[in-house]
Amino acid sequence: MSFIEMSKVRKNFGIVTALDGIDLKVNKGDIYGFIGPNGAGKTTAIRILLGIIKANSGESKIFGMDSWKDSVEIHKNLAYVPGDVNLWPNLTGGEVIDFFVKLRGKVNKKRRDELIERLGLDPSKKCRTYSKGNRQKVALIAAFASDVDLYILDEPTSGLDPLMEKIFQEYIMEIKEAGKSVLLSSHILSEVDELCNKVSIIKQGKIIESGSLDELTYLKRISITLQTRKPIEGFEKLKGVHDIKKRGDLLLFQVDQEEMNNVIKYISGYEVIKLESSPPTLEDLFMRHYKDDGGEA
């Protein structure tokens, strides 16, 4: 069963098109990455899913119900962490956590206290004194302490330190094992890469790529930096090599995963001094997308 199903969703703000007919499908058990640069429309899409704003056209459903009309019913089984957490300055973190958890249903006090302990939050402080990271912790604790089937997290780790990010990832894994779903928006590809089994990539209000991580051809290209003693010849004729650039003695290029072995065999004849490989970044991805479109980067 699909937990989230958006089809041909459009949203305009005045003359600006924020979403230009996007489709999104998240199934039970998916940890779904939703990636794109700032201003691509991630948050707009999430707000439509939550019934906070209304789509101009298209269909948006969660748990098979209309996300605008049936929002109250849907939200009983959903937890949301906004990218920019705004809290009530005169309430304490503990009060806000309890409030959100109570609105969503049963309170599991043990889990709440464990989360507060692990994420290291002082719940007796007023929210106006919290830093961005601490406000984010309040929202994350309130979400993870609720027993729901779907978590919608909008750039949830942008204010957390690496240690907290690690703990966050553990909780996501726990959710995954319990067979629940997560929609995780991010502009950091590596974060999504570690956690998610599926991704959609959004740019300027359009989904430009989606599927399981293994399926995404763009994601299977690896960036290589190479230095050899003998100058390489005929390299550009090799199958699966793209975007060759020369920078001094260095050769920069990208290789399709399945051609990796042939490429290594070929270059080994030229006395390799240095070989560095790195996974693709979001930036590479967009550059490539533009090139394939025939547009300008």
């Binding site: 939550l50 019913e73 906004p82 957490v85 309430l91 609105l103 007023k126």
Partner: protein, 532 residues
């Protein structure tokens, strides 16, 4: 030392850039307000006889409480009338401008973390406070000049150059005083809420102290800046000493706040905030629970404030009784209704005024839902199983119910104080009835607010414009002889004057129906629109 003020001038320019529209509206608004009323006056009471009658009614202690004393009652010229009617009010607007703008550029910038960025630049540690206060000084000097020259420019015989400049200076100096005072509170308090709360509480307290002093112990009025400026006797004797005194006090307050600013940490204050509860109370488990929790302190503060205002008016009723029984002129003016004392007729007017003032907190409670949305807190709430109706409904319900609480508190204060001072005490029941019939009119404002929140969320400020209009219609409509159609714009004008009038249930029902239609439309539109 000079290093602590580095780049103050650049900052002043920056504040003017940020607030150019806001400052312009405030400065022009205040000046035009004062000048346009002055322009009306000569036509309102053209004859000497009219002026004589007016002066007689102005001896009423309740009027003195509202407007302040007048030194010119024996020769009540247009100028004397202007100084009497408008000085305290215009000055209060300047005070409100200063409070809001100083808080915005000191504590608010600090709380939102903008000052941190400013402080990372080559700026002195006292530059921001100084720049803010200097900006307000410039703004208030502009108000002084505009009003001073504008009033003189009207060419009204009894409004000379010196008097006009003094009127402007009295308004400006109150603005300057409150800028300095708010600057001080912004050092003491560690957040925006407390800064604004302290500043406005101080302003209202000064108003009441002045009122009590003017109708009782005159020395008391000298403790209030609003009382001090009425001692300048604008257009009558034109004394300048209150202006100089207030400027000196403002300078002292400014120096003290500079000192406090220099010894505190960024983000800290001197009024300590204690840690709160680490767990939510069982009441905090629904949208209405949250709304009540957020508005708890304001509700209590306003209930107390209205009680004090009620008792301040109530304590006048004894004097009023004496005044009304001795002044033959006034007895001729107010139509005698069989079976009711003049005081009773007057009391209903007082209750209307208190009802208009009591509508301020009610609007604040309702409009809170809009400011919550602007601060992006509603969207998180909507992501939980909570309907939009329950969110806007919570704030609406609090506003509607608060109308009863406010009316009860004001009547309680009025009645308690009256029972000490009056010979012929009006019963609590009668007073309560007179107050409760005003509730539907207060609900009209709730209706307008909810309608705008639902349909035109960017225009909710119009609700305040409407309330200010209603305030002037009720407060000054008679003095200013406003045309009848304008008085009809205020819902309070349609409310029967209990106990003098019969209660017309049909009129009240019509007002109620209009209020609820507005609320209904507002709810429907809120449920349909995008949340910011």
């Amino acid at each position: 030392m000079a290093k602590k003020f580095t780049n103050t001038r650049v900052l002043i320019g920056f504040i003017f850039r940020r607030d150019r529209i806001r400052l312009l509206l405030w400065i022009l608004g205040i000046a035009i307000f004062a000048i346009s009323i002055a322009a009306l006056l000569p036509d309102l009471y053209p004859d000497k006889a009219d002026k004589l009658v007016l002066a007689e009614t102005m001896k009423n202690p309740a009027v003195t409480f509202m407007l302040g004393p007048s030194a010119g009652l024996n020769n009540y010229t247009d100028g004397a009338m202007m100084g009497h009617f408008m000085l305290v009010f215009t000055a209060m607007f300047a005070a409100i401008m200063s409070i809001l703008l100083v808080t915005r550029h000191t504590r608010e910038d600090e709380e939102d973390g903008r000052i941190e960025m400013i402080y990372s630049l080559p700026l002195g540690s006292l530059s921001n406070l100084t720049a803010t206060l200097l900006t307000l000084l410039i703004a208030n000097v502009l108000i002084f000049l505009l009003i001073g020259l504008g009033l003189y420019g009207l060419g009204i015989e009894t409004m000379g150059l010196e008097g006009s400049l003094l009127f402007g200076a009295s308004v400006g100096v109150v603005g300057i005083f409150y800028a300095a005072l708010t600057g001080l509170f912004a050092q003491l308090a560690s957040n925006v809420r407390t800064t604004l709360g302290l500043s406005f509480a101080f302003l209202i307290a000064e108003y009441i102290i002045r009122g009590s002093g003017d109708t009782g112990n005159q020395a008391l009025s000298h403790l209030s800046p609003l009382g001090l400026i009425t001692r300048s006797e604008v257009y009558v004797n034109n004394y300048w000493w209150p202006i100089l005194l207030l400027l000196a006090i403002s300078l002292l307050i400014y120096s003290f706040s500079l000192y406090l600013n220099s010894i505190r940490d960024l983000g800290a204050g001197f009024i300590s905030t204690k840690p709160g509860k680490s767990q939510g109370s069982p009441y905090l488990s629904s949208p209405i629970g949250l709304a009540l929790r957020l508005e708890r302190t304001p509700i209590i503060a306003w209930a107390l404030g209205i009680f004090i205002l009620g008792s301040a008016y109530g304590s006048l009723l004894g004097d009023l009784e004496g005044f009304l029984s001795t002044s033959q002129l006034v007895q001729k003016m107010i139509p005698i209704v069989e079976g009711f004392s003049l005081t009773q007729s007057f009391v209903t007017m007082l209750i209307t005024i208190i009802s208009v003032i009591g509508t301020i907190p009610i609007l604040m409670f309702v409009l809170k839902v809009n400011s919550e949305e602007k601060k992006d807190r509603i969207s998180q709430l909507l992501a939980t199983p909570v309907s939009r109706y329950s969110i806007i409904g919570s704030y609406t319900l609090i506003g509607l119910m608060a109308a009863f609480l406010i009316q009860l508190m004001s009547v309680l204060g009025l009645w308690l104080a009256a029972s000490f001072t009056m010979e012929d005490v009006i019963s609590f029941g009668t007073l309560l009835k007179a107050a409760i019939v005003n509730v539907p009119a207060m609900w009209i404002f709730v209706g307008v607010a909810v309608f705008l929140i639902g349909r035109f969320p960017k225009l909710t400020g119009l609700t305040w414009t409407y309330l200010i209009c209603a305030f002037f219609i009720e407060y000054m409509g008679e003095f200013l002889k406003l045309p009848e159609w304008t008085t009809k714009l205020s819902p309070f004008s349609h409310v029967p004057s209990v106990p003098v009038d019969e209660v017309k249930v049909s009129t009240l029902l019509i007002i109620l129906v209009i209020a609820f239609i507005l609320i209904g439309i507002g709810f429907r539109e809120y449920n349909r629109r995008d949340i910011e």
